[in-house]
C-alpha cells in the first residue's frame, strides 16, 4: 500500500536542482554575513568557471578527475559497497602510470601511452584487491579497510618520492619527467592539429577518456550480464545466492573495476598535466568522488553532471578567492561543504515534499 512513485524526471532532475539551490542559498547567507554581496559572488564564480575559454578549460580539467572518482564510487555502490578508498587507489594509479613510463621509455608512444593508462588502472585495481578480498571472504568492512589503505598509499608514495624514485639531484619529492611519448596531449595542442586556437589550460585528452569511461560504465551496469549480477548482489545478496551468483566473487570483481576507475584519475593529473609523479597529486578528488556519486545517484549521466558542478565550484571558487580577498580559500571549502551536505548527505530531505506537491498538482490518479 505505497503511494504511486513520483516520475523519474522529478526525483532525478528536480530534486537535485532544488538541493543545489538550497546549498547556494545557505552559502549566500554566509557570504552576506561576512559582508559581501552573495549575488555578486555567484556571478564572479560562474563567470570565472564558465565565462572564458581559460575558465572553462580549468573547470573541465577538474571535472575529468571527479568523473573518474565518481564512477569508481558508483560501481562499488551498485554492488552494495562503499569504496571510500578512491584517494589511495588514485595515488597508486599515478604510481602505476609512472612505473610504466619510467621503466619503458624506449617504447614508441602508440605502445607506451596505452601501457601507461593500463598501468594506472591496474595499479588502482591492485590497491583495492586486499580490502576487496577481506570484505568478500572475511567480512572485514570495506569502509574501514579502504580508509586504512588510503593512509598506506599516501605514506608509500612519500617513501618512494623521497627515496627510490626521487629524481637524482632534485630537492623536490618527485620523479624525473616522463618521455613525451608517455604523456597525454593537452586539449589546446589537439585543437591545433585541426587548425583551431584554444587557450592553454590543463584540460587534456583524459577528459575524452572520462566521458568514454562514463559510457562504458553505463553499458556495464545496465546492458551486460556482469552488470546485472553486480546490481543483484547490491540490491539483494540472498537473491543472488539463490540465482547461483556468488556475492563474494562479484564483490571482488566490482571493487576491482571501482579501483581501476579511481586509478584512471591519475591519467588526468600525472599523464596529462604533470608528466612526472608528484606527491599528493589527488588533492582530495577521491573524496569529492563520493559526493559526486551520491549526487549523481550512481548513474553515469548524473555523475558527469555532478562532476561538472564540482568542477565549477573548484574553478569558480578559486576565481572568487582571487577577486574578493575577504572570501578566502577556506570560504570556498565552506560553500563546497554546503553542496555536499544538501546534495549528498541530505539528498532526500526535500524529495517527499516535492513528490507530494507533484501529486497534489498532477491530480490524483485513479486509485488502484
Amino acid at each position: 500500500m505505497s503511494a504511486r512513485p513520483a516520475p523519474l524526471w522529478l526525483i532525478a532532475g528536480v530534486v537535485p536542482l532544488v538541493n543545489v539551490a538550497v546549498a547556494f542559498l545557505a552559502a549566500g547567507l554566509v557570504i552576506a554575513l561576512i559582508g559581501e554581496n552573495p549575488l555578486e559572488a555567484l556571478q564572479i564564480m560562474l563567470r570565472g568557471a564558465l565565462g572564458s575559454q581559460y575558465g572553462l578549460g580549468y573547470t573541465l580539467y577538474y571535472t575529468t578527475s571527479f568523473i573518474f572518482t565518481g564512477l569508481a564510487v558508483a560501481v562499488a555502490f551498485h554492488a552494495g559497497h562503499f569504496n571510500i578508498g578512491g584517494e589511495g587507489q588514485a595515488l597508486m594509479g599515478g604510481l602505476g602510470a609512472a612505473l610504466v613510463a619510467l621503466s619503458l621509455p624506449f617504447l614508441p608512444w602508440p605502445i607506451l601511452l596505452p601501457l601507461c593508462v593500463l598501468g594506472a588502472a591496474l595499479a588502482g585495481a591492485a590497491w583495492v584487491l586486499i580490502p576487496a578480498y577481506l570484505q568478500a571472504y572475511r567480512g572485514s568492512h570495506i569502509v574501514i579497510t579502504t580508509i586504512m589503505f588510503n593512509f598506506l598509499a599516501a605514506t608509500l608514495l612519500v617513501y618512494l618520492l623521497v627515496g627510490p624514485m626521487k629524481m637524482a639531484g632534485s630537492m623536490a619529492p618527485e620523479t624525473a619527467r616522463f618521455v613525451p611519448g608517455a604523456t597525454l596531449p593537452l586539449m589546446n595542442q589537439m585543437a591545433a592539429w585541426f587548425g583551431l586556437t584554444l587557450t592553454r589550460t590543463p584540460l587534456n585528452l583524459s577528459f575524452v577518456f572520462a566521458i568514454l569511461a562514463a559510457i562504458m560504465v553505463w553499458v556495464l551496469i545496465w546492458r551486460t550480464r556482469l552488470g546485472y549480477a553486480i546490481r543483484t548482489v547490491g540490491a539483494n545478496p540472498d537473491a543472488a545466492v539463490y540465482a547461483g551468483i556468488s556475492p563474494a566473487r562479484i564483490t571482488v570483481i566490482a571493487l576491482l573495476i571501482s579501483g581501476g576507475l579511481a586509478g584512471l584519475m591519475a591519467t588526468n593529473e600525472i599523464l596529462g598535466v604533470q608528466g612526472r609523479l608528484i606527491n599528493e597529486f589527488t588533492a582530495g578528488a577521491g573524496f569529492v568522488g563520493i559526493a559526486v556519486a551520491l549526487m549523481g545517484r550512481g548513474h553515469p549521466f548524473g555523475i558527469v553532471l555532478a562532476a561538472l558542478l564540482f568542477g565549477v565550484l573548484y574553478q569558480g571558487g578559486a576565481e572568487l578567492a582571487f577577486d574578493k580577498p575577504k572570501i578566502t580559500r577556506e570560504m570556498i571549502i565552506v560553500i563546497q561543504g554546503f553542496v555536499i551536505l544538501f546534495a549528498g548527505a541530505l539528498e532526500m530531505m526535500f524529495a517527499d515534499r516535492i513528490a507530494s506537491l507533484y501529486q497534489r498538482f498532477a491530480g490524483q490518479p485513479v486509485s488502484a
Partner: protein, 513 residues
C-alpha cells in the same frame, strides 16, 4: 444499554494514489471476540493501524466505550485501553519476561520498584487467565506460543481492555492455536474485547462471535459467526465463489527423480537443523512437507537447491549423485533441470528494486536467449517477461514496472512463471501461496497440479496444512529437523497431523540415533 467497545465511523485513508480505507464503519461489542478478515491489501491492517494510532485517518471518527476518542499515537491508544499483539513479536530476546513486560513502565531511574510492581501484576494476570508463564525466563528460551502469551500479558499489564491480534496463528502449532483460542474466549468471558485479524477462515469460524469482512478498502459486511459458513465468508472476501478444495485426478508416479538419503545440515553455530532426512520424489507426483515453520523445511529445500551445503548425506537427481552446495551450485542444478520457488520470495525469489523483467530472469541471466556474449538485449528480456506475464496472467502486464509495486499474488506468479516455464524435471516449491490472495491461490494450485500431470516431480513445502493436504499425493511431516511421519492425505486427520507436527510419533525409529 452498554455502548460498543469500539465504534469506528466513516474511516477514510489514502496513501497517495491508493485508497486503503473507504468510509469504513466498524462496531465491536464489549466482551466479544470479533474477527476481521479480508484478502491482502483489503485494508484490514490499515484500519487496525488507525485504531492503534500508527496512522491518522483522513476522515472519520473513533469512539471507545461510547466516548469519542482522538487517537493520534500508539500512546493515545494504550491510554484508551487498546493493546496490540503484532504478527512479529516485539520482544527483546536477551531480556527476561519481567524485563520485557516492564518496557515503557520502568518507574524511574532505578528499576527495582517497577519490576516488583510488574511482577505482582504478571502473577495476578497469569492466575486470572491461567496463563502459565515464568516471569524470570529469558525470552530467547521460550517457545513461540509462550512468546505470544508474553505479548498478550504485556498488553494486559498496560491496562488493555481491547486486544488486537494481527495474524496470531501464523507461527503456532495446531495445539498452540487451540490453547490460544481457549485463552481468547476466557479473556472475552472476563469482559475484555478481542479483535483478531486473519485470513484463515477456519480460525474465524472456531473462535469469533462476529466477523467483519473487508474487500478493496471497503467494509462489505459484518455477520454473526454462528449464522455463516467458510464458503459464504470466502465469497464476501473475494466477491465471488471460489473452490477451496483442489480438483485433481490420481497421481501416476513414474521413476524416482529425487532421492535424498540421510541428509544433515548444520547452521553457522553448528546446531543440527536437518537431522538425517531421507525421502524420494517420483516423476508425476507431489510430495508435500507439512510442519510448523522453522523445523528444518527451509534447510531441506535450500540444501537440495544448492544454496546451503549439507554436513552429510546424499542427494541424487535421476540417479545422478549431486554435490549440492559444492560443485553443484544453484546455477548448475538449474541446468540439470532442478527449479526452485523459494519460500520467501521477497528475501530470495525477487529483487524488489528491479524492473519486473529483470526479476523474471533471476537465475537465468546467463542464458543465450537474453542476449549475445557478455551483453543483455533489453528487448529480448522485456519480450520474454511479457510472454511470461501473458501465460501466468500477471497484472499489470508491464515488464518495465518495478517488482516491488506488484501485489503478492502477482509477484508469486512471476516467480512461478520463471521457474516452471523452462520445463523442469524437479520443482521445489516453498510456501506457494504465502501472502497471496484467494483468486491467485486457485490459479497457482491449478498450475502445480498441471505440472504434476505433465509428469514432473514436485517437492512442496507449506506451513498451511490445508494446502499440503489438498495438493500432495504423499505427505511427510517434519519436526525438529526430522521427518516424524508419512501419511496419505486422505487417510489422516488434523489431530494425527498435529501430533506429528509436534513431534509425537507412534512409529518406532528405524534405527537408534
Amino acid at each position: 444499554m452498554i455502548p460498543p467497545a469500539i465504534q469506528m465511523t466513516g474511516i477514510d485513508k489514502r496513501f497517495g494514489a491508493v485508497h486503503a480505507n473507504r468510509a469504513v464503519d466498524l462496531t465491536v461489542t464489549k466482551g466479544t471476540v470479533h474477527g476481521l478478515i479480508g484478502e491482502n491489501g483489503a485494508g484490514k491492517s490499515t484500519l487496525m493501524s488507525i485504531l492503534y494510532g500508527f496512522y491518522a485517518a483522513d476522515a472519520g471518527s473513533i469512539a471507545i466505550n461510547g466516548k469519542p476518542s482522538l487517537i493520534r499515537t500508539p500512546a493515545d491508544a494504550i491510554h484508551s485501553g487498546i493493546g496490540m499483539v503484532h504478527q512479529h513479536f516485539m520482544l527483546v530476546e536477551t531480556f527476561t519476561v519481567v524485563e520485557n513486560v516492564m518496557l515503557g513502565a520502568e518507574g524511574g531511574v532505578f528499576t527495582a520498584r517497577g519490576a516488583a510492581a510488574v511482577r505482582s501484576k504478571l502473577l495476578e494476570l497469569s492466575q486470572a487467565y491461567s496463563m502459565d508463564v515464568n516471569p524470570d525466563a529469558v525470552v530467547s528460551d521460550l517457545a513461540v506460543g509462550e512468546l505470544q502469551r508474553v505479548e498478550i500479558l504485556k498488553a494486559l499489564v498496560k491496562g488493555a481492555d481491547i486486544l488486537i491480534l494481527d495474524e496470531p496463528t501464523a507461527v503456532l502449532t495446531p495445539t498452540e492455536v487451540d490453547n490460544l483460542f481457549v485463552l481468547l474466549r476466557r479473556l472475552a468471558g472476563e469482559g475484555k474485547t478481542v479483535i483478531i485479524v486473519t485470513h484463515k477462515l477456519k480460525e474465524i469460524m472456531a473462535v469469533t462471535d462476529r466477523v467483519s469482512v473487508m474487500r478493496r478498502g471497503e467494509m462489505v459486511g459484518t455477520v454473526e459467526t454462528a449464522g455463516t459458513s467458510p464458503a459464504d465468508l470466502a465469497e464476501l472476501m473475494v466477491g465471488r465463489r471460489v473452490v477451496l478444495t483442489v480438483e485433481k485426478g490420481a497421481a501416476r508416479p513414474g521413476d524416482v527423480m529425487l532421492a535424498v538419503e540421510d541428509l544433515c545440515v548444520r547452521d553457522a553455530r553448528g546446531t543440527l537443523r536437518l537431522d538425517h532426512v531421507s525421502l524420494t520424489v517420483k516423476a508425476g507426483e507431489i510430495v508435500g512437507i507439512a510442519g510448523v515453520s522453522g523445523n528444518g523445511q527451509s534447510e531441506l529445500l535450500e540444501a537440495i537447491a544448492g544454496i546451503r551445503k549439507p554436513s552429510s548425506g546424499r542427494v541424487s537427481l535421476k540417479g545422478e549423485a549431486l554435490d549440492c552446495g559444492g560443485k553443484d551450485d544453484p546455477r548448475t542444478l538449474r541446468a540439470k533441470g532442478l527449479r526452485h520457488v523459494p519460500e520467501d520470495r521477497h528475501r530470495m525469489g525477487l529483487v524488489k528494486p528491479f524492473a519486473a523483467a529483470e526479476s523474471a530472469m533471476l537465475g537465468c541471466s546467463d542464458e543465450e536467449r537474453f542476449g549475445r556474449g557478455l551483453f543483455l538485449d533489453r528487448d529480448l528480456v522485456m519480450a520474454d517477461c511479457a510472454a511470461k506475464m501473458a501465460a501466468f496472467d500477471v497484472r499489470p502486464a508491464d515488464p518495465g514496472l518495478r517488482t516491488a509495486l506488484f501485489s503478492g499474488g502477482n509477484q508469486q506468479k512471476l516467480v512461478l512463471a520463471r521457474e516452471i516455464e523452462r520445463d523442469p524435471q524437479l520443482l521445489l516449491i516453498g510456501q506457494p501461496t504465502r501472502g497471496v490472495d484467494i483468486g491467485a491461490i486457485e490459479f497457482i494450485h491449478k498450475r502445480i497440479i498441471a505440472l504434476r500431470d505433465a509428469g514432473k516431480a514436485i517437492l512442496l513445502v507449506s506451513t498451511e496444512l490445508d494446502e499440503v493436504l489438498a495438493l500432495s499425493d504423499r505427505v511427510l511431516v517434519m519436526c525438529g529437523g526430522k521427518i516424524t511421519g508419512e501419511r496419505l492425505p486422505d487417510q489422516t486427520s488434523e489431530q494425527d497431523m498435529g501430533l506429528l507436527m509436534a513431534g509425537v510419533t507412534s512409529e518406532q525409529p528405524k534405527e537408534a540415533a
